[in-house]
């Protein structure tokens, strides 16, 4: 077990397609997190930004961009990029600085403004960039990879399109009253099953959109927290693991898996290893988890995550879903926020938003979507090019 840090404040800017500068969303989320923590911006000693690569130079140096927008104070700064895992990279930067004793209180911020349609590589021909080449040579979008996983799941475990649709139905219902969600509307299985086919077997309503949004956390040492609150939500573990060679499941944006011809594949595949490392670090097991926020880039992928984070054995996810275990009111609700199904993805904000949601539930402040009695929560996510991301929180 490692030492814990406290989550003193959380804040978000609602997700949507607002079309404004990403800095605005980050500043709003930061102001809300500071207010929630009951401290002033000038109290912050360290700012950790999650980068966006679609908004020019200010996005590459997000930590400094947010610090400047909030007003320079001389605070130390960092900016992290790990694709969809950028947020947890920033959270980890702040946590380790606090645990090293180099600061008492830190602000973590991520926000994004996204273009319409498929995410695509930045402009310019780059014949040695696998992310550029997979579009050029294969025409493989992100949804291609989601489609491959979904079809594999159907063949291995007998998942059906109806199961995938039911994930969307559940998440749409969860997000109905979430003020930060972009889509707040009931969706029927028929609507999912009749939406346009995008990456067979996945249809438009199986796949998450891209959104604008922002999320922020105020993290601090347990000693600092005691001066402000009696019983804070704490971060028990953060996993930022990379794969172990040979990584033998196809990962975005790769053309191939590693070869297991010379070295046997690891006992724990990469996506299982992400939460596994968090559980090990916290000394907490998956059976203790009350609530989870996982990265439902597609409906089918949410089912994979149930198994990857240890909620059930491989092949057990469809039963968990059908039995209502992962619905609010069930044994271990998954994506009570509504997930990416209701939010759409705002890349550098998303892993931070997952922690905001878990924190509200552990405090009992999640309103109509509250998961009653939640004491332990886990987030799981993955950034392309081998970025694991999982945050384990408890109260």
């Amino acid at each position: 077990m490692v030492q814990e840090v406290a989550i003193l404040g959380v804040g978000m800017h609602p997700w949507g397609k607002w079309g404004r500068n990403f800095v605005e969303y980050g500043v709003k989320a930061a102001e809300d997190a500071l207010k929630d923590a009951g401290i002033a911006w000038t109290d912050i000693q360290y700012v950790a930004g999650g980068d966006t690569v679609r908004n020019g130079y200010p996005g590459y140096v997000a930590g400094a961009t947010f610090a400047q927008a909030l007003g320079w104070t001389g605070a130390r700064v960092s900016s992290s990029y790990g694709a969809c895992a950028s947020g947890s990279q920033a959270i980890e930067a702040a946590r380790t600085r606090i645990l090293a004793g180099l600061c008492d209180v830190a602000l973590v911020v991520g926000s994004d403004t996204t273009p319409k349609g498929f995410l695509a590589p930045n402009k310019g021909a780059r014949g040695d960039d696998p992310d550029w080449l997979r579009f050029r040579v294969l025409g493989a979008t992100n949804t291609t990879y989601f489609g491959l996983y979904a079809r594999r799941r159907m063949a291995l475990y007998g998942a059906t399109s109806e199961d995938f649709a039911q994930v969307k139905v559940k998440n749409a219902r969860h997000g109905l009253t979430n003020p930060n969600a972009r889509y707040r509307k009931e969706v029927t299985a028929e609507e999912v099953l009749s939406s346009a086919m995008v990456a067979n077997p996945l249809r438009l309503l199986d796949i998450c959109a891209t959104s604008d949004g922002g999320a922020a956390l105020v993290l601090c040492s347990m000693e600092f927290a005691r001066k402000h609150t009696a019983n804070p939500v704490r971060i028990a573990a953060i996993s930022t693991v990379t794969p172990v060679y040979p990584s033998n499941v196809i990962e975005m944006p790769n053309f191939s898996t590693d070869s297991a011809a010379a070295v046997a594949a690891p006992a724990i595949p990469f996506r299982d290893s992400i939460a596994h490392a968090a559980y090990e670090e916290a000394g907490i097991g998956p059976e203790e988890v009350d609530i989870a926020e996982v990265y439902d880039l597609s409906t089918a992928l949410e089912l994979d995550w149930y198994e990857n984070i240890g909620l059930c054995p491989a092949g057990g996810a469809e039963k968990l879903l059908r039995d209502g275990d992962t619905t609010i009111g069930g044994r271990v609700p998954v994506n009570p926020s509504g997930g990416l199904a209701c939010f759409g993805e705002a890349v550098p904000a998303q892993a931070i938003a997952q922690v905001c949601e878990l924190t509200w539930h552990l405090r009992g402040q999640a309103g109509a979507r509250q998961v009653e009695g939640a004491k332990v929560g886990i987030s799981a996510n993955q950034g392309l090019f081998g970025h694991g991301s999982s945050v384990l929180v408890k109260r």
């Binding site: 349609g117 498929f118 695509a120 590589p121 402009k123 021909a125 014949g127 696998p130 550029w132 080449l133 997979r134 579009f135 050029r136 040579v137 294969l138 025409g139 493989a140 979008t141 949804t143 291609t144 489609g147 491959l148 996983y149 979904a150 079809r151 594999r152 063949a155 346009a196 086919m197 995008v198 990456a199 067979n200 077997p201 996945l202 060679y245 040979p246 033998n248 196809i250 790769n254 053309f255 191939s256 898996t257 590693d258 070869s259 297991a260 011809a261 010379a262 070295v263």
Partner: protein, 148 residues
């Protein structure tokens, strides 16, 4: 006659009589890499710089598949207007113990595929202009190869 060039230099043999993906093999530990690794063996317990070119098996089994129903964004270049949907396959090579992606030949659609079936590598045109024909690899069901 147009000049034929591979979609990516050094990734494939574009001889129609012997279509093959070309990777590299570590002379020290035997690890195989596609796309080719030429600097350092990525087996962390090896790290050798002795990487030699090797052809990959031209046949494998279908690990999974999907379809591109909408035109992918740039830098993808569609060869037809309107865009024609195509299938993408992930094929597992037994000897190399790895999965390799590729488009599926145009005549084979998602509904024609099933996981576990045998697939074979073939060549097709990726792009074409007045002087150059750019050649890529595609996967084709073995049954379709035999009946073609």
């Amino acid at each position: 006659m147009k000049t034929r060039v591979p979609a990516v230099n050094g990734w494939l043999n574009i001889d129609p009589a012997r279509p093959r993906l070309i990777g590299t093999k570590c002379a020290s530990c035997g690890s195989i890499f596609f796309p080719r690794e030429t600097t350092r063996c990525r087996n962390p317990h090896c790290g050798s710089a002795r990487l030699e070119e090797t052809e990959l098996s031209p046949r494998g089994t279908l690990w999974s598949y999907t379809g591109a129903e909408y035109k992918p964004p740039e830098p993808y270049v569609a060869r037809t207007d309107p865009f024609q949907p195509f299938a993408i396959a992930a094929v597992e090579l037994a000897a190399e113990k790895m999965v390799i992606l590729g488009q599926v030949v145009e005549v084979v659609m998602v509904g024609d595929l099933r996981i576990g079936q045998e697939m074979e590598l073939t060549l097709d045109t990726l792009l074409e202009d007045d002087e150059t024909e750019t050649i890529t690899w595609k996967w084709k069901p073995v049954a379709a190869v035999e009946s073609a």
